[in-house]
Symmetry: C2
Subunit: 377 residues, 2 copies
């Protein structure tokens, strides 16, 4: 809340009307002339929070980039013919599921969810909101009418290694990967690691290992260059060195830019798991915890960003985002675009997170030029 108050002051100092909405999004509104008040605005938004022990660029950079655009416009007396709103969203990495601020803005929240959502420690979201002076009712009022929005722009660090590997300072993002998350359970028999011969075992871990071994083949056969399959969590039972694992519970997270490819990949995973379970004499079940389809940004606006990158003579690449971002909730509502700035070493969510200021400036120039295009079309 202290950071939000500070950002609010910066917005006010830059001549914007600033306020906190019902979920703590800090909104700074710049209206060039009173008669433009009701013209659909351009929103520039990213988040102010990051993970605990994270870095200084994740999220915040996009809010500061928006603020800098307003300062540039004012310092140079640039004519703009629309309201511009800079928003520092809340709880993007949040403990209540994440993306709270952006979901409130896009109208994705329900009163029931707001009243019942809990963090992993059991604290209710509604109590946390009230401690900050908000309420579930007010949270619902944070929703913006898409008719009032000309476009939604976000600038964010890449948080991955693709720009660096391709030696590009900025990325023109044309969509966000879909993602599915499974919890898979393999059940065998927890025998003594000494007495059970290798060919009489039902070793649940060998099932996980064989499955992991097939992931690259599944991607080669069913996936695309954007497919990602990750086993991030594995729990073995009983988990003793001298006992054959009788149960293995593990997560599988799959991503792609194409919903059909996601389906093909997930079906192949299912078949492979079935075959491996039979081979190792295991029972197998899985629970699909979530399935979020990919989002593709509107070509018009992405093309505009790309044209501007060319006009600015930036060394850029058009690319999808493997990670989720605030803007994804607006992709189906209004023209939406996302600009990536290169992350050194692809590192993020860590104090080592860094983007060179040169590259940051290139991203900001691209954001600014696109903003002016939208304001003066």
């Amino acid at each position: 809340m202290e950071a939000r108050q500070w950002v609010k002051q910066q917005f006010e100092a830059a001549g914007m009307e600033a306020s906190l909405d019902g979920v703590g999004n800090v909104c700074g509104r710049y209206v060039p002339k009173p008669e433009l008040e009701d013209v659909p605005a351009v929103l520039i938004a990213s988040h102010l929070d990051s993970v605990p022990a994270g870095g200084m660029f994740d999220g915040t950079l996009g809010v500061m980039a928006g603020l800098e655009c307003i300062r540039l416009i004012q310092e140079n007396n640039i004519t703009v013919n629309r309201p511009i709103e800079i928003i520092g969203t809340s709880e993007e990495e949040g403990r209540f599921g994440g993306m709270l601020g952006a979901q409130a803005l896009s109208g994705n929240l329900t009163l029931e969810w707001l009243n019942t959502a809990k963090d992993p420690a059991g604290e209710y979201l509604k109590d946390a909101l009230e401690q900050c002076g908000f309420s579930p009712q007010e949270a619902l009022h944070a929703r913006r009418d898409p008719a009032d929005i000309r476009a939604f722009l976000e600038l964010h660090i890449e948080q991955g290694p693709v720009l660096e590997m391709n030696n590009k300072p900025v990325g023109v993002v044309d969509g966000i990967s879909g993602v599915f998350k499974w919890l898979i359970k393999l059940v065998g028999k927890p025998d003594h690691a000494g007495t059970a011969p290798m060919n009489m075992r039902s070793d649940a871990f060998m099932g996980v290992a064989d499955f992991a071994h097939e992931l690259s083949r599944i991607i080669d056969e069913e996936g695309s260059e954007y497919t990602r399959l990750t086993i991030g969590r594995v729990e073995l039972k009983p988990g003793f060195a001298h006992t054959i694992p009788g149960e293995a519970h593990f997560t599988l997270v799959g991503r792609d830019m194409d919903n059909e490819v996601m389906h093909q990949v997930s079906m192949s995973c299912q078949k492979v798991l079935g075959a491996i379970a039979r081979k190792h004499n295991l029972k197998f079940e899985y629970d699909q915890l979530s399935w979020i389809p990919p989002r593709h940004f509107s070509d018009d606006l992405v093309d505009t960003v790309e044209k501007n990158a060319q006009e600015l003579a930036l060394d850029y690449m058009r690319m999808p985002s493997g990670a989720g971002h605030d803007c994804q909730f607006f992709a189906d509502l209004v023209p939406t675009a996302l600009i990536f700035v290169k992350s050194v070493g692809g590192i993020s969510h860590a104090p080592d997170e860094w983007s060179h200021w040169d590259d940051v400036q290139k991203g900001c120039d691209l954001l600014y030029k696109t903003l002016l295009d939208l304001c003066n079309e």
Copy 2:
């Protein structure tokens, strides 16, 4: 301690001189005639404890089998020319490392270890001993002079599926597998599961999976029919579904009947781990927590047991033991033999543990006949 007191009473009721030694081994000594007091004795021993929520056969069966031999000798006025001692050992499955009673008897303990050993909860062995009325000093006095022992016999359930799969009621065990235990650490990079392309990852779990996948090949190329390799515990860091595992810590337990084979298998594991670490761009280190060479029982006594199985027309098989047993500490000191009784379903360390009484009787007949051979040679 209650169970031990009860067993002591049974020993006394069967005409034995009974006592608890300094680590809680219950010893019942049968001396047929006073002048035989100093003749080397035959020891029949197994353990009285099992794991929490274990079964009723593991260990205890061997102690009761010994008691039954003494009863048979007395009820039928059988002449024996040696002392016979039945021992119910303590802490075979113990929380201080296990095999406490047998190690005390065979002289494997040191005062330093007895004074410093702790269980996983931090309780000192010496405090636990004192709560039961024992002490580290007394524990050292439990040692038996091998010169006083003619032979060490143990009867135990198999705790595995081999006898059942081969449809044999009893096994004549000729040795106990050696075992090595490694703690292996693979260190990669904990990237975002969405932003890091598959070919730019250093996924520590993929290293474990690839290694597990090679285990059967390693056994085929370097191992024997008695080789076992087991990954029983795996811990991933950070262990989040959406993060590529940056570290994997896992155990590898290897067994074989031949120390040279164990060395070949372990060297192959090392090479394969090195190659996999290079392939996945991981750092790799391992810590050898223990290396216990295989024990082979003296052929003479094992041959005697086998001859007796034939004379009793038992359907038996000669086999090694994959699990450790009390008798292993005597294998290098005195003639030692181990008789297995078939475990239904190979199940042990669970309430379902069961051996058919018919099979138990066959094992006891074999033990008794071997005991008489040793007493009247």
